[in-house]
């Protein structure tokens, strides 16, 4: 008994009027200079409790879970606020103080605050990030040896066909290449523009909005794209026998795991987190990710096993 014809009696003039109504409502309501995302409520979840956030990215959630369990083991109260979409959704809440602790990545985070940064090496990036965080009234704790950074990958077959090891080698490819990545890559220094300017390699671009996830891998295997950006921590590189091309000219910023925290985070808590960061090697992170994908375990279990193995629980 659904009646889809509801707008049947409308005239164009009336719809036009309606449009004007909507537009004027919208315009009056938005007269202020409101920044869309600076609207966190500043509530940090009660006295002394540390609110820990994580991205909607399984690897990030495991790290956040490791922070949470390590803090709990030190009798510090925490509140988990995990799987918060992308950086644009949660960063304002860290800046406003409603989230106190968040696992981040040095390179990408610096690029948000300083899009034109020239820093590429791990220590330079970290040093710049410390200053940038202070400017925002935040702090970054010690960076971990664990890295999870963007990298260019190709299929094994493609690499062998053209003899590819470094990004430089892409210049040898004479067929047209399609490069697939999240849409922001199109205008980032490590996108098609950067490839051309830094390496002189010409590619066309197609967006795949899954951050180097399964769709991207499938597109590589289907030969719909030949080049993709995938995180080095992603177990799919090993699983699908993909080849990471070495970035000899520093197109990508070094990207170490780094805790981003409120300025007032206690020294005791910072000490606990720094121990966790120090214990996590790059190989550890890939293993943790692999357990999440292959054994399909929840983040809490994976984090607990790892903390126990490292003697941190």
């Amino acid at each position: 008994m659904t009646r889809p014809s509801r707008f049947g009696q409308l005239r164009s003039t009336q719809i036009g009027l309606a449009l004007v109504t909507v537009a004027s409502l919208a315009l009056t309501a938005c007269g202020g200079d409101s920044d869309p995302l600076s609207s966190g409520d500043g509530d940090n979840g009660g006295g002394g409790t540390i609110v820990i956030g994580s991205q909607d990215y399984y690897s990030n959630e495991i790290i956040a879970e490791a922070y949470a369990q390590a803090l709990e083991a030190a009798d510090i109260e925490v509140q988990r606020d995990f799987k918060i979409g992308q950086r644009e959704a949660y960063l304002p809440e860290i800046e406003s103080g409603s989230i106190n602790l968040f696992p981040e990545y040095t390179g990408p985070l610096l690029q948000v605050w300083e899009p034109d940064t020239e820093a590429r090496l791990a220590d330079d990036v970290y040093a710049d990030l410390v200053t940038a965080a202070e400017d925002k009234g935040l702090q970054v704790l010690d960076q971990s040896p664990a890295t999870d950074q963007d990298s260019y990958v190709v299929t094994r077959a493609f690499a062998e066909k053209w003899g590819l090891e470094t990004i430089d080698d892409l210049a040898k490819v004479t067929d047209p290449m399609v490069f697939g990545a999240n849409s922001e890559a199109e205008n980032r220094p490590n996108g098609p523009k950067g490839l051309k300017d830094t390496y002189g390699v010409e590619v066309s671009f197609t967006p795949i909005e899954d951050g180097g996830g399964p769709l991207t891998v499938k597109a590589l295997e289907d030969d719909d794209i030949q080049l993709a950006i995938i995180y080095t921590g992603d177990p799919s590189i090993k699983k699908n026998d993909l080849v990471t091309l070495e970035d000899t000219k520093g197109l990508f910023l070094a990207s170490h795991v780094v805790p981003l925290a409120s300025e007032d985070l206690s020294d005791e808590a910072a000490g606990v987190i720094n121990k966790v960061s120090a214990a996590m090697s790059p190989e550890d992170l890939v293993d943790l990710d692999a357990r999440s994908v292959d054994e399909q375990l929840p983040a809490a279990t994976i984090a607990k096993d790892w903390l126990e193995k490292e003697g941190l629980l």
Partner: protein, 217 residues
């Protein structure tokens, strides 16, 4: 099934969050739509503008709406309220026209009879117009409920938890069982609420049970 067994608590938690977002959105849109429908029915000229505005809102893509609403209302991007407001906007857009139709579907002779019996204007609304509008209204509410339940999932893209998280997380980790759980869970929830609505509809219109089927239509 293995995945579901290992993650039952998580799935139930997300299901609960899903209900908490979907139900208020539907309730709010029903209330607003009844008011707008009533206006459109009483003052047809103003009504066409109101209904036109409402139907136009439906064409705004959902994702930007989730960014624009916090700006307009000054609430947090990640607040569940953002999603409830967005869904209520869509629900109202879908339902306002149906509500106007529903009031139009009330037999004028019945209203005249009720007026002759001395019903006041409010009495007429609550005791005659609204109950008799229920069948048509309900058909619209059912559509809105089902589409709202399904739309809640997009909240996962901006960090508002629901069964939609199973879609994004399952997708990233390539766990198809998780995606399927999210899709099937959403559908089951929609169907359950739909059945509930049909039941409520029967309770609200006891006279229809005694009418022959053709007349009830």
């Amino acid at each position: 099934m293995t995945w579901l067994n290992a993650n039952r608590d998580y799935v139930l938690d997300m299901l609960l969050q899903h209900v908490r977002l979907a139900v208020p959105a539907v309730v709010v849109s029903v209330l607003i739509a009844i008011v707008l429908g009533r206006i459109a029915w009483r003052w047809p000229r103003a009504g066409t503008v109101v209904l036109g505005t409402a139907s136009l809102l439906y064409s705004v893509p959902a994702l930007p709406l989730l960014i624009v609403i916090p700006v307009l209302l000054g609430i947090s991007l990640r607040s569940g309220l953002t999603l409830v407001v967005a869904l209520a906007v869509y629900g109202t857009a879908l339902l306002a026209g149906t509500a106007a139709d529903a009031f139009r579907s009330v037999d004028a002779r019945v209203r005249e009879a009720a007026e002759a019996m001395g019903y006041s204007r409010t009495g007429l609304f609550w005791k005659v117009d609204l109950p008799l509008a229920v069948p048509v209204l309900l058909s619209g509410i059912r559509v809105v409920t089902v589409s709202t339940v399904s739309l809640v999932t997009i909240g996962a893209l901006v960090g508002i938890p629901s069964l939609g998280n199973l879609l994004t997380d399952g997708f990233q980790r390539d766990i198809r069982a998780e995606i399927v759980t999210g899709v099937v869970g959403t559908m089951l929830l929609a169907i359950a609420l739909d059945v509930l609505l049909v039941g409520l509809g029967h309770l609200a219109t006891p006279w229809r049970a005694t009418l022959p089927k053709a007349a009830a239509r």
